[in-house]
Subunit: 122 residues, 2 copies
DNA sequence: CTGCCTGTCCCCTGTTTACTATACGTGGAC
DNA sequence: GTCCACGTATAGTAAACAGGGGACAGGCAG
């Protein structure tokens, strides 16, 4: 039950038509069948497209890939690797981040960037 | 190809025997067949057990669930939800964390805990 | 009215996931 | 010796995943 949010299909359709792509044309560019794309846009699929297709959609539509992944109910593919590089510390940290606002997360991100500078100097 | 690290099986077997469980007994407690558990311990499976089974194993063996998840090549099940709660900020932050040491991550974790206090006060 | 393009509907398909059943060889206790 | 528990190799499988094919109704340009 990796059910994509119902908004995923609607979002896709709106952006696609806004870009002037027909369903068939867009399906071809993404590399899926018109049938399947129609299903996806109507939210009639139980599982969202694969990561590479979502990435292509984001590229073609000029939207944030992360946003599209989230709407699809998927996690961007590079994140699991990052987490597993520190199997103890990363999960603990992530749980500490739960509930924080985007602004606070941004602050921590800047902080992390500074820490990384120190690493690079050593 | 969600291949579990080869060390996963070895680790499991060592901890299981150390606890004095036979393969059949442990399999029963975890809720899988002896056959499957044998395969897992030999690293002969292409896909690791499901999250709930890994959790049970960790409980029975008295080990960190996060560590076991990492060895199995899985991401702890609560993390995707946390990420998707902030679909833009979380991925960006995680990428900024890439390559940091456990000590640095711990620092950020403490920092996050402080920020959370502020949230709770508001 | 005939193409042609639009999206949609029903049904079908191969692949992967996460296992299970059955049968088997081995070694010790009685 | 035979009974039992140990772990194991071979084979198979239900369900989910990620789609695809072909026919179809509706609009509308020439």
């Amino acid at each position: 039950m990796t059910a994509p949010k119902p908004k995923f299909g609607a979002f896709l359709r709106e952006r696609r038509t806004a870009k002037g792509y027909s369903l068939r044309r867009f399906a071809e560019l993404v590399g899926v069948s018109p049938t399947y794309l129609s299903h996806v846009e109507q939210g009639k699929v139980d599982s969202p497209p694969t990561a590479d297709r979502i990435q292509k959609m984001a590229d073609l539509l000029g939207t944030s890939a992360d946003e599209l992944f989230a709407l699809a109910g998927r996690v961007p593919e590079d994140l699991p690797k990052i987490i597993q590089s520190q199997p103890e510390a990363m999960p603990a940290l992530l749980r500490a981040l739960k509930g924080l606002t985007p602004e606070q997360l941004k602050k921590l991100q800047d902080h992390a960037a500074k820490l990384r500078m120190e690493v690079d100097r050593s």
